[in-house]
């Protein structure tokens, strides 16, 4: 009994620590493309990844969080090949620090902001800005206006329409836009401000579309600088180009994103 036990105690950690111990060199799986994407891209980016894998056979792994948080992680050395940000500022911040490449940086989608309420709980027929004021002192969930893109856009719109001071004390800042969506879905807050694409993917009552912020909502994608070796840059650049292909545009439009920012591209589906 003793020798068997000793053998197990040694073998187990070794087996756990050696990821490729069963594979020969020829069978080694190629490194996937690591994409860090804004939380609002959750289901869309997964679908884009699958489409890309289907077309090219190259594996794509997507990590989701607020664009601000992802930018922070990339600057700290996180293993991302591509950064898909919901706000130009965080892409620029990374570029200024030398972590995002200028060439190849593209805008690939837009979005709208909507006011939402728990399913079945809509404020009767009020326009969205009035509805927000009407639910006070109830809480309004939104991505943290200090850094999360959706919160920053929302703040711009609310300030521009003179209601920021009134509403600000009742905001419930969340770490990303999906958390705000979930809080509204579960009837834990009175209302929320999320992207149109979020509202479409969730089970909520949509009160209405908010006016656009002065700087239109723009999703920016770029290659992360400083990734040595790992998958070919060609692979990552390939996925970047894929983002503006008709197939990708179709997926994004279907998920509620808008291509209005690209008015020049005639014939766009949304």
């Amino acid at each position: 009994m003793r020798p068997v036990l000793a053998l197990l105690l040694v073998a187990l950690p070794v087996a756990l620590l050696e990821p490729n111990c069963a594979l020969g060199a020829e069978q080694r799986v190629p490194d996937p493309i690591h994409v860090f994407a804004a939380a609002s891209l959750s289901e869309a980016a997964d679908e884009l990844a699958r489409a890309y894998e289907g077309a090219t056979g190259k594996r794509v792994i997507v990590t989701f969080a607020a664009s601000s948080t992802l930018a922070r992680q990339i600057a700290a050395g996180a293993p991302a090949d591509l950064f898909l940000s919901a706000h130009e500022d965080w892409a620029q911040w990374l570029e200024d620090k030398g972590y995002l490449r200028r060439e190849g940086r593209i805008d690939f989608a837009g979005n709208g902001l909507v006011v939402i309420q728990p399913p079945g709980k809509q404020e009767t027929n009020l326009p969205p800005l009035d509805a927000l004021v009407a639910v006070l002192p109830g809480r309004i969930a939104v991505g943290d206006p200090e850094h999360v893109p959706v919160g920053r856009y929302a703040r711009q719109v609310l300030e521009r329409n003179g209601v920021w001071e009134t509403i600000a004390p009742y905001l419930l800042p969340t770490e990303n836009t999906l958390m705000a969506l979930r809080l509204v879905e579960k009837d834990l807050v009175a209302a929320g401000i999320v992207y149109s694409s979020d509202a479409q993917s969730g089970d909520v009552s949509v009160v209405g579309l908010l006016p656009d912020p002065d700087r239109p909502i723009r999703y920016v994608a770029g290659l992360v600088e400083g990734r040595k070796g790992e998958p070919d840059e060609e692979d990552a650049a390939g996925f970047l180009r894929f983002l503006t292909s008709p197939a990708a545009v179709a997926i994004l439009c279907e998920r509620g994103f808008s291509m209005a920012v690209f008015k020049g591209k005639g014939g766009s589906p949304c």
Binding site: S68, P173, E175, L188
Partner: protein, 228 residues
């Protein structure tokens, strides 16, 4: 200003932790006595329940609190009507989360202290005619005091540092529920939050160290006077 957020976070943490202990400690002292000294139906189950926050992931505890006391639950609404707000997404909720998470740490040294008391001292008091409550107050409690203080110190430290259950149940509202731990987390999520994170961490280290030193001195003092 950099310091405004930091001061809010520190004051909030102190308030939350002290309120959490103000409620937890009496409960632990009384419940601990019942568990340590009496055999009753469900005693073992109660012991498991009391220790559950220690083994559950903190976010799970926060989620369970939301299920029980959330604003969309009967109990949550009743409490909101009674106190005007919360407890979910409110500083009182942060105190509940901190109290629940700290409770296993508070009660543990208290249980040990009760079990270590020589029962004959209490019996002697009984033969002298003292009532149960008086025995508890004049014999049992003073003997258990070092354990009670140790429980308080541990619980306070845990309550000050509580994160998972707090962020789920009370959320991360600046100035209202953003305790020190949550403030550091927020600073770490923001691209330019390094300065704030550093400042808050330094404060947390200072507060934590001070708390440990003070509680150590205090417990020592009590133990010395007990042996006098």
């Amino acid at each position: 200003m950099l310091t405004d957020g930091a001061i809010d976070a520190v004051m909030l943490s102190l308030r939350v932790a002290l309120v959490a202990m103000a409620v937890s400690l009496p409960v632990a002292v009384l419940l601990g006595y019942a568990i340590a000294r009496h055999r009753f139906f469900g005693r073992r189950a109660l012991l498991v329940l009391v220790n559950l926050p220690l083994v559950l992931p903190p976010v799970v505890t926060g989620y369970l609190l939301l299920l029980a006391l959330g604003p969309n639950r009967a109990l949550g609404r009743a409490l909101a009507d009674l106190f005007g707000a919360g407890p979910a997404f409110h500083w009182t909720g942060a105190a509940i989360a901190a109290g629940v998470m700290a409770f296993p740490l508070v009660i543990r040294p208290i249980l040990v202290a009760y079990q270590a008391i020589d029962g004959r001292l209490e019996e002697a008091a009984e033969t002298l005619g003292a009532r149960r409550a008086v025995i508890f107050a004049t014999v049992t409690l003073p003997l258990a005091l070092p354990g009670i203080l140790a429980g308080l110190a541990l619980g306070l430290a845990k309550a000050l540092g509580e994160f998972g259950a707090t962020i789920v149940f009370a959320a991360n509202i600046p100035g209202e529920t953003r305790t020190l731990a949550l403030a550091i987390y927020s600073a770490l999520q923001q691209p330019n939050g390094d300065q704030m994170a550093f400042l808050l961490t330094a404060i947390a280290l200072a507060v934590g160290s001070l708390a440990l030193v003070l509680s150590d001195l205090f417990i020592n003092r009590v133990q010395r006077s007990a042996h006098a």
